[in-house]
C-alpha cells in the first residue's frame, strides 16, 4: 500500500518526520518497505498483512497513526450540496436484481445525471500520480480516489450503455465471453460474478469493468457501483484470468460491509464537485436491511497479563481499543465486554483484542529475560543413527548432497528398487518437468555426478539422506515415506557393499542379521546387483551402473550406487553397545587356498565355511581370487581365505585347529567339490 504523506495528513496531524512515522508503523504492524520523495510529497510503501484490509486506504492508515500518536482522526463527511441533488429516486432509473448472493452479498448503486467528463483537478491528479495511479478523467479518478481513501473499490458505468435500464448480478455462464476495459477478451466460468444489463455482461464483478460500458468523454449520466464481493470468488476469478487489480486485491481481503454507502456518497460528492451533475435520491440496494453483526467479546485483564507476560494498565488497554474503533458495552475493573467496528472483521475474539493492545502498547515493552523453567530434552534414536550413518559415509570419502524430492520423468523411470507401483505425481511442477515424487534417490545423485563431470570435477562421490515416496496400492491414508540413504560413487560394488556392512555394524552392532539375493535391473550391470534382506524385508540394495545407462548418460567411468532403508535399520539400532570381553587366549590363523568352479560365490562359500567350522571360527577373511588355467584348467578359480580360530575358554591346540580345518575341507568338498592347493 503506497501512502502519500500529504494525503495522509489530511486525516491526522503527525508531528513526526515521514521516516520516523514509517518506523512507528513498522513496529505496530504496517511493515515499512521504502519511502520515496515525489515532488514535495513523500510516498511511503507499507506492507499490509492479509488480515488488515482496513489499512488498504489512507483513512485506515491514518487511524493507526492517530492511535499511535494519541491524536484526533478526521474523517470527511460526504455531503452533496442541495443544488446537486436530483429529485428522482435512483430506483426509478435503474432496476437491480441479485441472483448470486454467495458471490456478492450486497450490491448498491447511485445515479448521477448531467456530468461533464474532463480531466480532474491538479490536487487529485497529484495525489493519484504520487501513489502510482494514472489519472484518467474526473469520474474515473474520483472512483479510484475513494478506493485509495477508504479501501472500498467503486465502479462507474455510463448509464446510457446499460441496456434495459437493468443491473443483474449473476454467475457467469460457462465459457461466457467478456471484453474488459483493457480491451482483451476473457472466457468466464460460473464461479465468477458477472454484472450484466438486460442483454450482456458489462463488468466482471469485483475485478474489472467492461469495455462497452466504460465512462468516456461523451458520457453524461453515470451509475456508481459500490458492492461487496466474496473474497474466494474474486480470488479465483482474478487468478484464473490473471487479472489482478487494486479492486480485486481489496475484495480478496474483505471490504467494510458497512462502508458501501459512505464510499458511494463520498464518490458522488467528489464527482459533482469536479464534473457537475446531480445525484439521485437513495440507492438501488440488493440488501438494504443487511447489518453486519459484530460479536460481543469479553476481554479479561488477567488474560492480557497471562498472554503477554506483562501488566498493561487496564485503562490504557481499553483506550487503545476504543481508539481503534471498538465500543465498550460494559466494563468492570477486571473485564470488559466489547464490540469491534465493522471495518475490523479480524477482531472477533478476546485473543484478537489482546493482540491489538499488545502491538499498540509496543512490543518493545515485553522483556526478553523472563523466567524459562528448565526442561529435559532427549536425543532421538533417529539422530543417533543418522550421526553414525553420516560419519561412515563421510569417512568413506562421500560428500553430502541435497537434491530435489520431485524429479522429471527420465530420472523417475531410471530405477525403482523399493516399489513396482508407478510414482506419485504433483499437479504443479517443482522444477522444469519435475512432477514425479521420487521412488529412489539414486537417479538424482547420478544426475549430480553428471553435473560435476561436466564441470570437470573428477570422481565426485555423493550421498544423501532423504525420503523416498512409495505409493500404496489403495489411496487411503498417506503413502509410505521411507527415510533412505543413497550414494553414488566411483569404485566397484565391493565399495558399496563395504559401506553397507560398516553402516549396519556401526548402527546395529551385530543385531541385524542379513542375507543377500540377486538384484537385476536394466540400470545395474550384470552380476553386480544385490539386495540385502533383513527380517525378510529389503534393507539395502547396491550394484554398478549398467553399460547402457553409462553410455546413455555419457558417464566418464563406472559408478557404484545403492540405497539403504533407514527406517528399517533404525529398528535394529543399538544406542549403547555392551562390551564383549576380550578373549585372553591367542587366535590361530589358518590360510586355505581353494580351487573352485567359477560359479561358486563367496557368499555361499563363506556360509558353508561358517557352518562347518562351528563356534571356534571367529572370522573368515577373504584374501584374494586368482586364476591359473594351466594348473587348474578352464572354469576354475582359486580363492584364498584365512580362518581365524579362537576359543573363549582355552588356548587352542594345533590339533583342535586341524580338526576345524578338516571339517571345513570336507564340507566345501561336499558342497562345491572344492579342492585345496597342495
Amino acid at each position: 500500500m503506497l501512502v502519500s504523506w500529504e494525503w495522509l495528513t489530511q486525516y491526522v496531524d503527525i508531528d513526526l518526520s515521514p521516516d520516523d512515522m514509517a518506523n512507528r508503523f513498522a513496529l505496530s504492524g504496517l511493515n515499512h518497505e521504502s519511502t520515496t520523495k515525489v515532488g514535495p510529497d513523500f510516498v511511503i510503501d507499507l506492507e499490509v498483512t492479509s488480515n488488515r484490509g482496513d489499512c488498504l486506504g489512507h483513512i485506515g492508515v491514518a487511524r493507526e497513526a492517530s492511535v499511535l500518536l494519541s491524536t484526533a482522526l478526521r474523517i470527511p463527511t460526504p455531503i452533496v450540496s442541495p443544488a446537486s441533488v436530483d429529485s428522482a429516486q435512483t430506483s426509478s432509473l435503474i432496476k437491480l436484481s441479485n441472483r448470486f448472493e454467495t458471490g456478492c452479498p450486497r450490491y448498491t448503486g447511485k445515479v448521477i445525471r448531467g456530468v461533464k467528463v474532463a480531466p480532474s483537478p491538479a490536487w487529485m491528479q497529484r495525489r493519484l500520480t504520487a501513489i502510482g495511479v494514472k489519472p484518467v478523467n474526473n469520474v474515473v479518478d474520483a472512483t479510484n480516489y475513494v478506493m485509495f481513501e477508504c479501501g472500498q473499490p467503486l465502479h462507474a458505468f455510463d448509464l446510457s450503455k446499460i441496456r434495459g435500464s437493468e443491473i443483474i448480478v449473476r454467475p457467469a455462464e460457462a465459457k461466457e465471453k467478456f471484453i474488459a476495459i483493457d480491451h482483451r477478451t476473457y472466457e468466464l466460468d460460473p464461479s465468477m460474478v458477472v454484472i450484466a444489463d438486460a442483454e450482456r455482461a458489462i463488468a466482471l464483478g469485483g475485478v474489472m469493468g467492461g469495455e462497452d460500458s466504460e465512462v468516456s468523454e461523451t458520457t453524461v449520466d453515470l451509475l456508481i457501483e459500490a458492492a461487496d464481493f466474496t473474497p474466494l470468488a474474486i480470488r479465483r476469478a482474478a487468478r484464473k484470468l490473471r487479472l489482478h487489480s487494486p479492486a480485486s486485491y481489496r475484495f480478496e481481503r474483505r471490504v467494510n460491509p458497512e462502508g458501501l454507502l459512505w464510499a458511494a456518497e463520498r464518490c458522488c460528492q467528489l464527482i459533482v464537485e469536479m464534473a457537475g451533475g446531480k445525484v439521485t435520491l437513495g440507492f438501488v440496494d440488493s440488501a438494504p436491511q443487511s447489518k453486519t453483526q459484530m460479536p460481543e467479546v469479553i476481554l479479561r485483564k488477567q488474560r492480557i497479563i497471562d498472554v503477554l507476560g506483562i501488566e498493561i494498565p487496564w485503562k490504557r488497554s481499553l483506550d487503545i481499543l476504543t481508539a481503534l474503533g471498538c465500543t465498550i458495552v460494559s466494563k468492570s475493573d477486571d473485564k470488559a465486554t466489547m464490540v469491534a467496528p465493522p471495518y475490523r472483521l479480524d477482531l472477533p475474539r478476546e485473543i484478537d483484542l489482546i493482540e491489538e493492545v499488545a502491538r499498540m502498547n509496543g512490543y518493545e515493552k515485553i522483556p526478553e529475560d523472563a523466567m524459562v523453567p528448565v526442561f529435559v530434552s532427549a536425543r532421538r534414536d533417529k539422530d543417533v543413527m543418522l550421526q553414525r550413518v553420516r560419519s561412515v559415509a563421510t569417512a568413506a570419502g562421500y560428500d553430502e548432497a541435497l537434491t530435489a524430492s520431485v524429479v522429471n520423468k527420465q530420472a523417475s523411470s531410471l530405477i525403482s528398487p523399493w516399489t513396482a507401483l508407478p510414482p506419485l505425481m504433483t499437479q504443479v511442477q517443482l522444477l522444469e518437468g519435475a512432477t514425479f515424487l521420487r521412488r529412489s534417490i539414486v537417479p538424482s545423485l547420478i544426475q549430480a555426478y553428471q553435473n560435476n563431470q561436466s564441470q570437470q570435477n573428477r570422481d565426485a562421490c555423493l550421498f544423501e539422506t532423504a525420503m523416498v515416496y512409495l505409493p500404496s496400492a489403495d489411496s487411503k491414508g498417506l503413502p509410505t515415506q521411507q527415510n533412505t540413504l543413497a550414494w553414488v560413487g566411483t569404485g566397484s560394488s565391493r565399495d558399496s557393499k563395504g559401506m553397507i556392512d560398516e553402516i549396519i555394524h556401526r548402527v546395529a552392532h551385530g543385531q541385524a542379521v542379513t542375507t543377500e539375493e540377486d538384484f537385476t535391473d536394466p540400470s545395474i550391470a550384470d552380476n553386480t546387483g544385490v539386495r540385502v534382506l533383513c527380517d525378510g524385508r529389503m534393507l539395502a540394495w547396491y550394484g554398478n551402473v549398467s553399460r547402457s545407462v553409462r553410455s546413455t548418460l555419457k558417464l566418464d567411468q563406472d559408478l557404484t550406487f545403492g540405497e539403504l532403508n533407514l527406517d528399517l535399520l533404525q529398528e535394529f539400532l543399538l544406542t549403547i553397545p555392551r562390551l564383549k570381553p576380550i578373549v585372553p587366549y591367542p587366535a590361530i590363523q589358518r590360510d586355505l587356498n581353494f580351487i573352485l568352479d567359477e560359479s561358486v560365490r563367496w557368499g555361499s562359500l563363506s556360509q558353508v565355511v561358517h557352518k562347518s567350522a562351528g563356534e571356534l571360527l571367529t572370522d573368515c577373511i577373504y584374501r584374494e581370487t586368482y586364476r591359473d588355467a594351466k594348473k587348474d584348467g578352464e572354469g576354475k578359480k582359486r580363492v584364498l581365505l584365512s580362518l581365524i580360530l579362537q576359543s573363549t575358554t582355552q588356548t587352542l591346540t594345533g590339533q583342535q585347529a586341524d580338526d576345524v580345518v578338516a571339517k571345513v575341507l570336507q564340507a566345501t568338498k561336499e558342497s562345491f567339490d572344492a579342492t585345496i592347493v597342495a
Binding site: R239, Y363, V372, E400, L462, P479
Partner: protein, 371 residues
Amino acid sequence: MGIFVLDRLEAYPTLLFVMSLAEFTSSLDSLLAAAEKSLGLVADEAGLEELRVLYTGAKNGQLKSIQKGMSGLSSDERPAAGKKFNEVRDAVQAAIDAAAARISGGGVDGASPKASGTKKLGPQVDPTLPGVRPRLGRLHPITQTIEDLKEIMGRLGFSATEGPEIEDTWHNFVALNIPEDHPARDPLDNFYLATAGKNASDPSALDAKLLRSQTSTVQIRAMESQQPPLRIISLGRVYRPDEADATHFPMFHQMEGLWIDTSVSMAQLKSVLRMFATSYLGGDVTIRFRPSFFPFTEPSVEVDYFWNDQWIEFGGAGMVDPNVLKAVGYDPEEVSGFAFGLGVERLCMRRYGITDIRDLFRSDVRFLRQF
C-alpha cells in the same frame, strides 16, 4: 598379496602347521646361521635388500613364517619360544645393519673409512613432502546448520521431531486455522498430489494430499499424540511453488519450535529466542518483535535480532492460536503456548556467505567440500 607370495606359501607348507618347541628353536637356529652367512658375503645394496626381504620381510619373510608357528605351541612353551625368537630376530637385524654399514663404506663402528669423507648419496626421505590427507567427505552446510540448531534448542529443552512430507489438508491447513477460502490453500501455491483418474484434485477435499508447505504439520501431529507440557522443534523439507532464483527455491528447510504448558507468555517467547540467538551467534543479542499475521498464531510477530549494528530478520513467531489448540483437543483456557519458525537456508546462507540459494542444491563438489 600377489602370486609371488602364494608360491612361497606353497613352497613352505610345513611352516603353516604345528611344530614342537624343539622344531621351532632349530628352525630359528638354522635361519640365523644361513642369514649370517649370506649377509657376510653380500656385496651391494640390491643384494642386501633382497636378503632383508627374505629374512625379515613384514609380510612373508622367513622370520614371519616361523613366528606364525608359535601360535601352535602350548602356553607354557610359548615364553621360551618368544624369547628365542626375539634373540634370533635381533641377531638377524644386527647382521643386516653390519652388512649395510660395510656396503655404504662405513666401518662397523660407524667411522668413515675414507679421509675425504665423501658420503655416498643414496635415496633419502624428504619429510617436507605434502602429507597424505585422508579424503573425508563433508556434511552439507544445511545439515551442519540443522545440527547446530538442534543442539542449541536441545540445550533449551526442545526435542527434535519429524513428520511426513506428504501431508493431508487437515494437518497442513485445517488444524492450523487455515480455512478453505484462505489464499494459502490455492492449488497453484501448493504441490497438491495428482490423484488417479482426475488430474486436478479438489484442494478442499479432506483426503487431498500435498507436499507440506510448512513444518507446523509436525507440531499438530505432536500435539495430537501427546499431552502438555510439550517443548519440541520440528525440522525438515517444505515445498512451495516459487520460481527458482538467487533467493527462492521451491524446496527448502524450516525449523519450527513449539512450547505448550499451563502458562506460557510472549515474554518467555522473546526470552527463549534471545537465548537461542545469543547461543547461535555467540554474542549478546537483542531481539525485536514486529506485529505480523499468521493464521496459526495470535498475537503474531516477525522477529528481528540486532547483530553487527543492524536488525536482521530471523523468522515468524507468536502465541499458538486458540483455534489450533482446540483443533488438537487442548483447552485454550487450560494451556497456552508459543510457536516460532525460521528458514534454515537463510540462516545457513548468512552464516557461510552463500549468496545464491540454488548453489545449495547443485551438488557441485567444489561447493560442498568447502564446509
